[in-house]
């Protein structure tokens, strides 16, 4: 066993997991408080990436671009809530799925029209573009460490926000009984819009962080949104803790599966078969995990006690 490789892959898995958490946390917030299934959450991830990518060239620096793109993405989220999402809250989950599926088509096509099909490659400042050697042989790109750092910081911030601020109390209260929150004098519509915008910013931030790695691309949201749903379902919808744990688990499973499954498979089949079976099985693994968990715990790992 190559422990250096294992260490590097665990870090890679952690990084993927934290990115997933950024997307899933917004999703679970919105679902938890609004009971709203939002497939278009992934499109906001894409929009965040594109806005940030464009701004990187305008402002000349990736970090400045992120700082400006964050509130802009929040505004996009706010606008989507006002124009589309708000009108869907009263309907059932089926309508949410279909309505936001339509929204995905609209946003993806709009991004194609606005930014072209090519996608944008995002340059990083020099100091972020290098790599560090954590110990002999364990070389990690600096930027991936930055993603891990940002992810952990945001996760901490979110836990603080949800558990120790008045906004957080209102978010939790709203998740359990919106009528009562409203009857006690809180403008629930504005609270919803705020939460939606916050979710959008989190998802957008994930998109901004991935852009220097994979580029900003149309359709990038469609891939992550399903994984993010798997995360919040496994974690228990509405649970921030669940989302965090599930995201890390899935990030690790996916990365470690991609790295070591083929080696494992060569134990039971020939090399060629292992080479092709491994990627598919590792792609399937998160769904298998989800099915198994739901079969045992139909409400996910940490169902919040709200209703």
């Amino acid at each position: 066993m190559d422990y250096t490789l294992l260490f590097v892959q665990v870090l890679n898995g952690l990084q993927l997991g934290l990115l997933l958490f950024l997307v899933a946390s917004g999703l679970t917030l919105v679902f938890g408080i609004l009971d709203f299934v939002n497939l278009a959450h992934g499109s906001i991830y894409m929009i965040g990436a594109f806005i940030c990518a464009s701004l990187t060239f305008v402002l000349g620096n990736f970090l400045w671009a992120v700082l400006v793109a964050l509130p802009l993405t929040g505004i996009v989220g706010y606008a989507l809530e006002r124009i589309v999402a708000r009108n869907l809250y009263d309907k059932d989950h089926l309508d949410h799925v279909l309505g936001t599926f339509g929204l995905v088509l609209v946003l993806d096509t709009s991004a194609h029209i606005l930014w072209g099909p090519a996608g944008i490659t995002v340059p990083l400042p020099l100091w972020l573009d290098g790599q560090v050697e954590l110990f002999t042989g364990a070389v990690i790109p600096v930027f991936r460490l930055l993603i891990i750092g940002t992810g952990l910081t945001v996760a901490t911030g979110l836990f603080w926000l949800v558990n120790y601020t008045r906004l957080g109390m209102l978010i939790r209260a709203g998740a359990s009984n919106r009528t009562m929150v409203s009857a006690l004098g809180i403008d629930i519509q504005t609270l919803f819009a705020l939460v939606f915008a916050l979710g959008a910013m989190l998802s957008g931030l994930a998109g901004m962080l991935i852009a220097p790695i994979t580029g900003a691309n149309i359709g990038m949201g469609g891939q992550i949104i399903i994984t993010a749903f798997v995360v919040i379902i496994i974690g228990g919808i509405g649970s921030m803790k669940g989302a965090f744990i599930a995201a890390i688990i899935i990030g690790l499973i996916d990365t470690l599966g991609r790295s070591f499954l083929d080696t494992l498979f060569t134990l039971i089949m020939n090399e060629n078969a292992a080479e092709t079976a491994a990627p598919a099985v590792s792609a399937m693994m998160i769904y298998i995990l989800m099915a198994v968990i739901l079969a045992v715990k139909p409400q996910g790992l940490f169902p919040p006690k709200v209703r």
Binding site: N12, L16, P141, G215, S259, T276
Partner: protein
């Protein structure tokens, strides 16, 4: 709904009646999704070709219809069906992606039309599925990586690690390099196509394998993402990169905009380059640049060629589109002027052609482009030709 259908019906009847003396060409490419980067470049090249022809082939007007495959085999087959059955085209050209071509070929060939691949060249269509009405204006998938394998041998690389997407062309590329590379292949990673764009796990494995080189195939936008991550991982000195079809004229301007200088000097094999010295290529590259402000990609070059290949067929029979044999013979002779220079067709209608090693350089205007470093093969034929029953 009924009224809508009868209106649509009436419309099609009208166009059916208005059939003038024209040659109908369907061009299937990718116009939506991330794959559209490539499709758009082909679209530009095809339109430029038509312009250069003055809109005529063998005295007939050219009626060109583009079809969008949406980067999916199934959609590609559906638009192909429509071109064949509804628009009743005489030629179907295009096809960037091998799996789309494999899904669509039967629709065209069963209908007795000509099929011209302007990019994709999966093994089966060159071998056991070869067909008299199929021609390629590009290459067979394995050829380019075979040339790269040859280059690796010449450079004295002893071992490589391979990363490629898990679809028809990816498998072909891996098969190709395996065929000619004489050293050891320490590992092969096939990634989910086209969704996986983060290669951190694969890069870490490649590095840990201790290989002397990294062979990679990532067409379109994935190539850009891969190059970027390769650079971020800092592997340039420890694990040199050898690519096919992963750096192209579409990604270079983006790299230049992002000032991604590591890509300068990287090398890859190909059957064409903008610097190839012949009149057809000079005109193509110059006019393309004048019109679109960027170098054409090899996708564009092949699409451009596909139109002139068709033109040579229609010219040869003087516009008599019923003379299939005449058109077939004309194309088989490859007597048109190709932007890559002269080549011939093998028994399977795949080009027997030269392959070059290209390198990324700055041109005189400071734009990033490529030039030819050496000729790897003078006239290379693919290995599937022997499986083809035609002669």
């Amino acid at each position: 709904m009924k009224r809508l259908l009868s209106a649509a019906l009436a419309a099609t009847m009208l166009t059916g009646l208005a059939q003038a003396a024209e040659v109908k060409i369907g061009f299937v490419t990718t116009l939506t999704t991330g794959g559209a980067v490539v499709g758009k470049d082909q679209e530009k090249a095809v339109n430029l070709a038509i312009e250069h022809m003055g809109g005529k082939m063998g005295g007939l007007d050219i009626n060109l219809i583009f079809g969008d495959d949406g980067f999916k085999p199934e959609t590609g087959k559906q638009v192909t069906d429509k071109l064949v059955k509804q628009d009743n085209v005489d030629f179907v050209a295009g096809y960037i992606w091998s799996h789309v071509l494999l899904a669509s070929r039967k629709s065209v060939l069963d209908a007795g039309k000509f099929l011209i691949s302007a990019n994709a060249g999966p093994g089966p269509v060159a071998g056991k599925l070869c067909h008299e009405n199929f021609f390629s204006s590009s290459w067979q998938n394995d050829q380019t990586p075979m040339a790269m394998g040859e280059v690796l041998n010449q450079k004295g690389v002893k071992s490589i690690y391979v990363i490629a997407p898990n679809y028809a062309a990816g498998k072909g590329m891996v098969a190709g390099v395996k065929r000619t590379f004489k050293g050891e292949i320490l590992g092969v990673d096939m990634t989910t196509w086209p969704t996986q764009l983060d290669f951190s796990a694969e890069l870490a494995k490649a590095k840990a394998s201790g290989a002397e080189g990294l062979f990679v195939f990532y067409p379109g936008k994935a190539g850009g993402a891969f190059m970027k991550q390769y650079q971020q991982a800092g592997l340039k000195n420890s694990l040199p990169l050898y690519t096919v079809f992963s750096v192209d004229a579409l990604s270079l301007p983006k790299f230049q905009a992002a000032n991604f200088t590591d890509v300068l000097g990287s090398q890859f094999t190909q059957q064409w380059d903008p610097t190839i010295d012949n009149a057809q290529n000079k005109r193509f590259v110059a006019d393309f640049r004048a019109k679109h402000g960027a170098y054409p990609s090899f996708y564009a070059a092949q699409a451009y060629d596909s139109m002139f290949l068709i033109q040579s067929a229609v010219d040869a029979v003087g516009g008599d589109l019923t003379n299939m044999d005449g058109m077939r013979a004309a194309m088989k002779s490859a007597s048109y002027s190709s932007v890559r220079g002269d080549y011939t067709y093998g028994n399977n209608h795949m080009p027997i052609q030269a392959f070059y090693l290209r390198e990324v350089v700055k041109d005189s205007g400071g734009n990033w482009t490529t030039k030819i470093v050496q000729t790897v093969y003078d006239a290379h034929q693919d290995t599937y030709a022997k499986d083809c029953s035609m002669n």
